[in-house]
């Protein structure tokens, strides 16, 4: 019997594995975006400080660097591998597909990351201790290396959504998967939003400057930079949306909660208004206000953006060939990858999944609910809470329907056939469909008392 390469499933009942990954990813995005943006802003400020011989500006760069070290780099450098750990346990085959396709790109990014971390230390500790030319070399190496990490991640994230060129499926090659119609728009959008986040963080530092004239100057400078970046970023974001594949646009329009897009635009407008207010009245800047704007960006800006990014690639999780539930759903002839859907339709997943315990391999009246739970874990739990909490909880998906026959008909009509755009095809056998329907009909009670 052919064996699909499926891993065991981790399920976190309260949040669902997907949200654990999402929370870590959102924190990482804030920290890493701030870091890269701050590297670019710091490089520019250090250049001005050295060329115009302004020690107070150099001191600001140093203090900004210390803040970045303690906040962004600690948080970013730990939550970066944190995404790997959480993706490993939540979506092992999705991560594996990305890692195995882009290991050398990721390794290259690691070289830049190493240079970046050394760079931030040098920027902080060598301020005022080396000649101006050497300091500028340090600053520019730091800034460019930092931006290069983003250039690499953008390509990998693009591949995650959709391989850049259709030829990737038939001819392979990491370049064909990496560069696509949305790469440039993504680079520009992210660069702008990174600079915007860096300006928000920079204002937090500026609010602690004691000398009033210099504080006002820095506040205004950062407000100008931040406002320009926010407006340009919004334009590039709009352009980026237009470059997305048709199916992604359809999913964005039909599957996202109605408040998502307005929330994104509202936070962007709020940030622009905030910067405009500081430009007019720099004395309004207070540490608490600057910190609140960072938190607002995290909650109202990055969280919806990440949710949207996750939604628009559904039902796939990587490269349009690995489903969110870890099943390979499309052939990739260039790499000899074959869809597992036919295999699972013929053999049933309970019989063929390597991590299903023997008593559940065959459904019988004594194990139907437990077999149903196993099926829900494998097929559903990556995107749905199997109770009343977590992402898209199953109890709410069925509109309160607890009739097993009707649920079974729905499963067979919509899911087994693959007739829903945002849902994977779920190739259940008849006995599996019955077991899953019984389990779903028993929610949430059975889930609470089940083994």
């Amino acid at each position: 019997m052919e064996i699909p390469g499926l891993y065991p499933t981790w399920y976190e009942p309260l949040l669902g594995s997907g949200w654990v990954l999402g929370i870590i990813a959102v924190i990482h995005v804030l920290a890493s975006h701030t870091s890269v943006g701050a590297a670019l802003v710091s490089t520019w400020l250090a250049t001005v400080a050295v060329r115009q011989n302004r020690p107070e500006l150099l001191d600001y760069v140093r203090r900004y660097g210390v803040f970045l070290l303690v906040f962004s780099y600690v948080l970013g450098s730990i939550t970066g591998p944190g995404i790997w750990f959480s993706a490993t346990v939540a979506s092992p085959r999705g991560l594996s597909a990305l890692i195995h396709s882009y290991v050398w790109w990721w390794a290259t990014e690691w070289v830049f990351f190493l240079i970046e971390v050394i760079g931030i230390y040098l920027l902080v500790y060598l301020a005022g201790r080396v000649d101006s030319r050497s300091y500028l070399q340090v600053a520019w190496i730091f800034g460019v290396a930092s931006w290069a990490t983003m250039l690499i991640i953008v390509g990998i994230l693009s591949f995650m959504l959709w391989p850049g060129q259709e030829s990737w499926f038939t001819e392979g090659g990491s370049l064909a998967g990496f560069f696509g119609p949305y790469t440039v728009a993504q680079i520009l959008t992210r660069t702008c939003f990174m600079v915007m986040a860096a300006a928000l963080a920079g204002n937090l530092i500026a609010s602690g400057i004691e000398e009033p004239r210099f504080r006002r100057e820095m506040t205004r400078t950062l407000a100008r930079v931040g406002m320009t970046a926010a407006i340009l970023g919004s334009l590039f974001f709009q352009w980026g949306l237009a470059t997305l594949p048709e199916s992604a646009q359809l999913l964005l329009k039909t599957r996202l909660p109605g408040y998502f897009v307005p929330t994104l635009w509202a936070i962007l407008a709020g940030i622009v208004a905030y910067f405009a207010a500081l430009l007019a009245q720099p004395d309004w800047l207070k540490p608490s206000l600057a910190a609140a704007m960072m938190v607002a960006l995290l909650i109202f800006g990055i969280w919806p953006e990440e949710r949207a990014r996750e939604s628009m690639r559904k039902p796939f999780v990587a490269g349009q060939f690995v489903y969110a539930n870890q099943i390979i759903a499309r052939d990739v002839p260039a790499l000899g990858v074959r869809s597992e859907l036919q295999l699972l339709a013929e053999q049933g997943i309970l019989k063929s999944h390597p991590f299903i315990p023997d008593p559940l391999r065959r459904v019988n009246p004594g194990n139907q609910l437990e077999a149903g739970q196993a099926l829900a874990l494998v097929y559903c739990s990556n995107c749905h809470g199997l109770g009343e909490t977590g992402p898209r909880p199953m109890t709410r998906m069925l509109a309160g329907n607890r009739n097993a026959d009707e649920i079974e008909r729905l499963i067979k009509g919509a899911l087994v056939t693959g007739n829903m755009i945002n849902m994977p095809r779920i190739p259940l056998t008849d006995e599996e469909a019955r077991a899953l329907a019984l389990f779903l009909a028993g929610l949430p009670l059975w889930q609470a008392v089940g083994p």
């Binding site: 390469g5 780099y73 730990i78 591998p81 000649d131 190496i141 290069a148």
Partner: protein, 399 residues
């Protein structure tokens, strides 16, 4: 778990280069990572000792080691990314299963490390203003060790495929909570943690050499640091050897015969070499020799550790990493190696040289022509890298 299943768990995408390349990089980068981890653990432990003892030399050493620990933890994390990447490339069936089976621990690792790192910074910024500083440092050290234990547990679980189903579905009922750390070997953990003592000893002797070059005149402190470093090397190395022997006596049956193999002998010789570190110590630049020797010893121990893993998976379960399908990707393979060697080499060399010289100089340091050229070369390499990125991107998109 059947061999056929282990092979089925491999990524169907295959590898973009031969598995042996990833294996070599895994050993090399893990050695670099663990060296930084040892310095991080050792300097935190010494900062804690200094905080508790609070005597003259100890007080000064404690402050210096706190500074060291703060940087070492950054470097350890950055260097840890590479082996984490390579281990999931060639050992994906094993690494992913062990992580899923102990998912809460794998996720918890992130939170614990974050807490330790921020506590260390907290201690650093409150240096001298905190009465119970040793409690903070003890917590930091405890959290670091707990993080190490989690990694040890995950690495142990990946070598026990025969127990995976028992852990995942005890009594035939699936437990998807990932709440248990199922496997560990106290001797193995103690051995790999204990190596921090001789490595930190070598670091201390190197620290003495650096202070001397910076014009330090307190010879009593310098001699005290050197003696402490040498004691750590000798005693720590010999202690580690004893632990190693105990660990070898507890290896699972799947490792059959490894304890008496050449791979094991390499680890014994390397551990002994760590204990013999003081013998290579010389005045002047010779103070750096023990650290160099420690680096080589840890590299050999990393190779031995990998030999044991290959022995267990190959001898015990018949798994052969060399049969991993390869779809060679020329561009990305060259991209990494050229970036690593040329761009990484020049920028890291420039950064180290500049900070080294600036650290020794009194007042503002003006870079020598050689260091300035290295800086320029790094910037040119970065510009060339950016140019090729956009050039290949453009060619791909129009092609």
């Amino acid at each position: 778990m059947e061999l056929e299943t282990l092979y089925a768990l491999r990524s169907p995408v295959g590898l973009p280069s031969h598995p042996i390349v990833f294996l070599v990089l895994l050993v090399l980068t893990w050695a670099l990572h663990i060296l930084a981890v040892y310095v991080m653990l050792g300097s935190t432990a010494l900062a804690l000792c200094g905080s508790v003892l609070a005597g003259g030399h100890w007080r000064r050493l404690s402050a210096a080691m706190l500074e060291t620990a703060k940087v070492a933890v950054s470097i350890a994390i950055v260097l840890g990314v590479a082996p984490l990447l390579f281990v999931q490339v060639i050992y994906d069936p094993f690494w992913y299963v062990s992580n899923v089976l102990s998912a809460r621990w794998a996720i918890g690792f992130i939170g614990l490390l974050l807490a330790a790192y921020w506590l260390l910074y907290y201690r650093y910024f409150r240096n001298g203003r905190e009465t119970a500083s040793h409690l903070t440092l003890a917590t930091v050290l405890g959290l670091f060790l707990l993080c190490g234990f989690i990694m040890h547990g995950l690495s142990s679980e990946m070598l026990r495929p025969e127990l995976w189903m028992r852990w995942y579905a005890p009594g035939g009922h699936i437990d998807p909570s990932g709440s248990a750390l199922h496997d560990y070997n106290p001797w193995r953990f103690l051995y790999f943690v204990g190596l921090m003592v001789p490595v930190t000893g070598a670091w201390l002797v190197g620290y003495r050499g650096y202070l001397e070059r910076c014009g330090e005149r307190d010879t009593a402190y310098l001699d005290w640091v050197t003696a402490l470093g040498k004691r750590c090397m000798s005693a720590g190395g010999l202690f580690s050897l004893l632990i190693y022997v105990s660990w070898m006596s507890t290896l699972p049956a799947s490792a059959g015969g490894f304890a008496a193999s050449a791979g094991s002998l390499i680890a014994v010789v390397a551990t002994l070499a760590l204990a013999a570190g003081p013998l290579v110590c010389r005045a002047g630049s010779g103070y750096y020799r023990p650290m160099l020797a420690a680096g080589v010893a840890i590299l050999l121990i990393a190779a031995s550790r990998e030999a044991l893993r290959l022995k267990i998976l190959g001898g015990g379960f018949g798994y052969d990493i060399l049969t991993y399908p390869v779809h060679f990707d020329t561009y990305s393979t060259l991209l990494f190696f050229i970036t690593f060697a040329v761009l990484g080499g020049s920028t890291v060399a420039f950064s180290i040289a500049l900070s080294w010289e600036a650290g020794k100089a009194q007042g503002i340091y003006t870079a020598s022509p050689r260091i300035a050229r290295l800086g320029n070369a790094s910037l040119v390499a970065l510009a060339v890298w950016l140019a090729q990125y956009f050039l290949f991107g453009f060619l791909t998109m129009i092609g």
